[in-house]
Subunit: 96 residues, 5 copies
Amino acid sequence: MQLGKVVGTVVSTQKSESIKGLKLLLVQQLSHTDKPLNNYVVAVDVVQAGTGDVVLYAEGSSCRQTAPTDKKPVDGIVMAIVDTWEVGGKEFRVKH
Amino acid sequence: MQLGKVVGTVVSTQKSESIKGLKLLLVQQLSHTDKPLNNYVVAVDVVQAGTGDVVLYAEGSSCRQTAPTDKKPVDGIVMAIVDTWEVGGKEFRVKH
Amino acid sequence: MQLGKVVGTVVSTQKSESIKGLKLLLVQQLSHTDKPLNNYVVAVDVVQAGTGDVVLYAEGSSCRQTAPTDKKPVDGIVMAIVDTWEVGGKEFRVKH
Amino acid sequence: MQLGKVVGTVVSTQKSESIKGLKLLLVQQLSHTDKPLNNYVVAVDVVQAGTGDVVLYAEGSSCRQTAPTDKKPVDGIVMAIVDTWEVGGKEFRVKH
Amino acid sequence: MQLGKVVGTVVSTQKSESIKGLKLLLVQQLSHTDKPLNNYVVAVDVVQAGTGDVVLYAEGSSCRQTAPTDKKPVDGIVMAIVDTWEVGGKEFRVKH
C-alpha cells in the first residue's frame, strides 16, 4: 500500500456496467515523510473517505478483495483512512 | 486507474486468436491536472470510446473482469469515459 | 499492452520444465511515435513473430491466458504483430 | 522481493473490515548494497518484524498467500526478517 | 521476464512458514546489451542457478506457477539460466 491524500473526484456516466455506483477518488501519492509526490491514482472508495483525508491505497488484483469491488475491473482502491503514522520517532498527524 | 486521452488506434491482423474482434486504442496518460505525460498504453476498448475522449484505463489482471475481455491475454482496458474531474476545487471539463 | 520491436532471441537449456519449447523473444519497447525506448522485455512468442517485427506485448498474469502459456511461469508474451498504428492523424506503417 | 528497513508504523481506525487487526509497517526500500532508497511501501507484517529490522517484502497478489492476509485487500507484506546478505563476496550484516 | 546476473544470496531464519527451504538469490538486472542496471530483485531459485550465472527472472503472480513456489508468498523467481542471447546480429555469450 501507499500513503496518499484525496485531492478530488472523477465523474463518468459512460462506463463499464459493473463499476456503476462506485465512487471514484483522485488520490495523490505522499512520501513517507508527508511530501506530495508527482504521482496519482484514481481509486474506488471503500471506506467513506473524502477530500483532504490521508489514506492508504492499494493497486492491482488486491483491489478486488472487498465486497463492493469483487470481480470488477478496478485496479485501485482506498481501503483505509490514516489517523497517524510514525517514522523514526517522529509522528505525522493528519490535519483536518 | 489512470486518466488518459485516446490519441489513436492500433491495427493487427496476425494476433492471438482470443483477442480477435477487440478494438485496440492508443491512450496517452494525463496528469491529474490534465497535462499529457510521456507514457501510453494500448488498451482494449469496452465502452465505445473514440479519439479525443478522456478516459479511465486500468492495467493488470483487473482488465479481464469485463465480458469482452474475460480470460483473454489483455493487460490494458479503457473502462470509463470521463465527463469531468475536480482537483482542489478546480473543475476539469472535457472538451469535444 | 505496449508497442515493441523484436530485436533478438534468448537461448536457455537449463530452465523450468514447463517453459521448455517456448520461443523467447527479446523485445525493445517503442514509444507511441515509434521511437525505441530504453526498456525491454523477454517475452514468449505466441504469434510466430520474428526479428524486426513491430508487436504488441503484455506483461503480468494476462500472459498466462493463451494455450501455450497456460499455468506457466511466464510474465511476458508477444500476442500480436502490428500492421499499422495511427496517432493524431499520422499513420505509422511497419517496414519489412 | 526487495530488501527494506522497517522505519515506522501506520495507524488507521477507519478501514476495510477484513484488514482490521493487521499490523501495518512502513518499510523503506534498500539497495542491494544497503543504501536507503527513495521508495517505500506500507506492508502488513506476517513475521513479527519491528522498527530497525531489515526485511524482505513482497508486492502484488503474492501478498495474499499467507494465513493472515488470505483473500484480503493487501498488496504489500513483510514475509522475512533478514539476518545477512552477500554481494560479490562482501557480507552485509544487519546491526541491531 | 528480464535478464539478470546472480550477484549474491540472502539469509533469513525468521520468515513466513511456507517459504522455508527456498533458496533466495540476489539478482541484478542487466540491459539487453549486457550492462548492469541499477535495479535488483531477491528471487527464489527454481533452476539451481549460482553466483555469476546470467538468468531470466519473472515477477508477480507468474512466480507461483512452479512446483516449489506454488501458493507461496513469492513475487520473484529465477526460472532459466541463459546460455546466449542475440541482439541485432550480435551474440552475447555468458562467461563462466
